[in-house]
């Protein structure tokens, strides 16, 4: 065998090894069925390309390199396409987006939250761009609040996401609304991470955590419940009043201070959370009173207790925000400083809500497990089976 043939053979073996490494990206089943023929096709195509090249050596080498790089990139893209399609099929088969909570009371609670959470998210977004503030300003003639002119790309996930979620949710596109809420939550975290601002003004901020977790709660409620139609049917007059109160305190929190609570002097410090400036102990106490009243009213019935548990997830960072404001009002120092009653931390803003969400999921799972056990004890036919896999007539 001539030197040239030996070199070509060695080059081909190197190429084959490289293609085989890339084929490892493909799913096992696909690899088992197609790997050998794909290698054959890749080598045949490479040999045909080599035969066609009639240029000086450096140019031929560059062309060959470009072809092999393009083939490698195409193999990676092909693997991603096949894996993506498999993942989508799996999701479709599992019916992830067509499942709802099995427990009727949780299903109803989620349905109520699928009405409340998108509305609160909308109010939070409006407050972020100072719309309630501007409305209050136009009614009262107070010059302090104006529509924010500094709406940047970082505000876009909430500013655009919240109206979209509300429109889709009430336009009977429940699952799309749920996915939009999820996208709004992810978008807020990503824009918070990318934002070049000091810590605790980005995604770690309780204000951002509140809207992120509210969007997550809205997503869960929309994806796992029958949707806003059922929620609206369940909301009594009292419930509607509670939703209104919740929206009012959220809007009030951001408008706050001199406008809502009649304080004589302008706010003593800039309160960046939710785009508003709030001051005044009466305001803090009113917010606390409304929250406690809403919570107490929710304790009365099983479904509303579950609504309370679900809404507590985003309300935890809101409470952190509230205690920051309370500390500011009591001690007169800016929020987030050393004088907050409880030091603000990522643990407080994200971990506690996540623990609560975990407890809810674990609690429902345990309840279902117990219920299944009880059903088996009551109906022994369900346990009188033979070995696993035995078919019964």
């Amino acid at each position: 065998m001539s030197d040239q043939a030996t070199r070509r053979r060695a080059g081909q073996q190197r190429m084959e090894r490289r293609y085989r490494r890339l084929l490892a990206l493909y799913p096992k089943d696909h690899r088992r069925e197609h790997a050998e023929e794909m290698v054959g096709v890749l080598l045949a195509a490479a040999a045909a390309d080599d035969a066609q090249v009639r240029t000086p050596k450096p140019v031929a080498w560059a062309l060959r390199f470009a072809e092999h790089t393009a083939d490698s990139a195409d193999l990676v893209a092909g693997a991603l396409r096949i894996r993506g399609r498999m993942a989508l099929n799996r999701i479709g088969r599992a019916g992830w987006f067509s499942r709802t909570a099995r427990d009727q009371r949780w299903s109803d609670a989620l349905a109520v939250v699928s009405v409340v959470a998108p509305l609160l998210l909308l109010v939070a977004a409006l407050a972020e761009v100072h719309i309630p503030q501007a409305a209050a300003s136009s009614v009262t003639g107070h010059p302090h609040w104006q529509l924010t002119a500094a709406l940047g790309p970082a505000d876009l996930p909430l500013a655009a996401g919240a109206p979209a979620v509300a429109a889709l949710a009430f336009g009977r596109l429940r699952r799309t609304a749920g996915l939009a809420a999820l996208a709004a939550a992810i978008g807020q975290v990503v824009s918070g991470v990318l934002r070049s601002a000091p810590a605790f003004t980005r995604y770690e901020s309780p204000a951002v955590a509140f809207t992120v977790l509210l969007a997550c709660t809205a997503a869960a409620a929309l994806l796992l419940s029958p949707g806003p139609d059922r929620g609206l049917a369940l909301l009594t007059r009292g419930g509607t009043a509670l939703v209104g109160a919740g929206a009012l305190i959220l809007g009030g929190f951001s408008v706050g201070g001199t406008m809502w609570f009649g304080a004589a002097s302008p706010p003593s410090f800039g309160f960046a959370g939710l785009g508003g400036e709030v001051a005044g102990l009466p305001g803090d106490l009113l917010i606390a009173a409304v929250l406690v009243t809403v919570a107490a009213a929710c304790l009365r019935a099983p479904v509303s207790r579950r609504v309370l548990a679900l809404l507590a997830i985003p309300v935890i960072p809101y409470a952190v925000l509230w205690q920051e404001k309370l500390a500011g009002d009591l001690f007169g120092s800016p929020s987030g400083g050393a004088s907050t009653l409880i030091p603000t931390s990522v643990t407080m803003t994200y971990l506690l809500p996540l623990i609560l969400a975990g407890l809810i999921v674990a609690g429902t799972w345990l309840a279902r497990y117990r219920a299944t056990g009880r059903a088996r004890r009551v109906d022994p036919r369900t346990t009188s089976a033979g070995p696993p896999g035995t078919l019964r007539a």
Partner: protein, 105 residues
């Protein structure tokens, strides 16, 4: 229907072909404009098989390497015919709006 899919089905409409044969035939049909690479070809074949438009035919070993042939199914033939009809109708409308005589488009 995307162009690579259309061209793969067109290549297989004439006869059953193996992977490299499809690649060269697609290049020929498209006058060298579309060049399928292995990753794209096998991702498309995987999808077309899953959709029932293409099926595996015979296998052979050439130079110690596996060569699997693919053929278009009846469903694939119907799908391709429907796409040809759609393209022909669109082409006719485009040609008439451009004021072209039939056969010059």
């Amino acid at each position: 229907m995307q162009e690579p899919t259309f061209l793969i089905l067109t290549a297989l409409a004439a006869r059953a072909q193996h992977g490299y044969g499809i690649m060269t035939d697609v290049a020929r049909i498209s006058d060298g404009r579309v060049r399928l690479r292995a990753g794209t070809l096998y991702a498309a074949l995987d999808r077309l098989k899953a959709d029932g438009l293409v099926a595996s035919d015979k296998e052979e070993i050439v130079d110690g390497r596996l060569r699997r042939y693919y053929r278009i199914t009846d469903e694939g033939t119907q799908e391709l015919a429907a796409e040809v009809g759609r393209l022909r109708a669109n082409t006719a409308v485009a040609a008439s709006r451009l004021g072209l005589a039939p056969g010059t488009a």
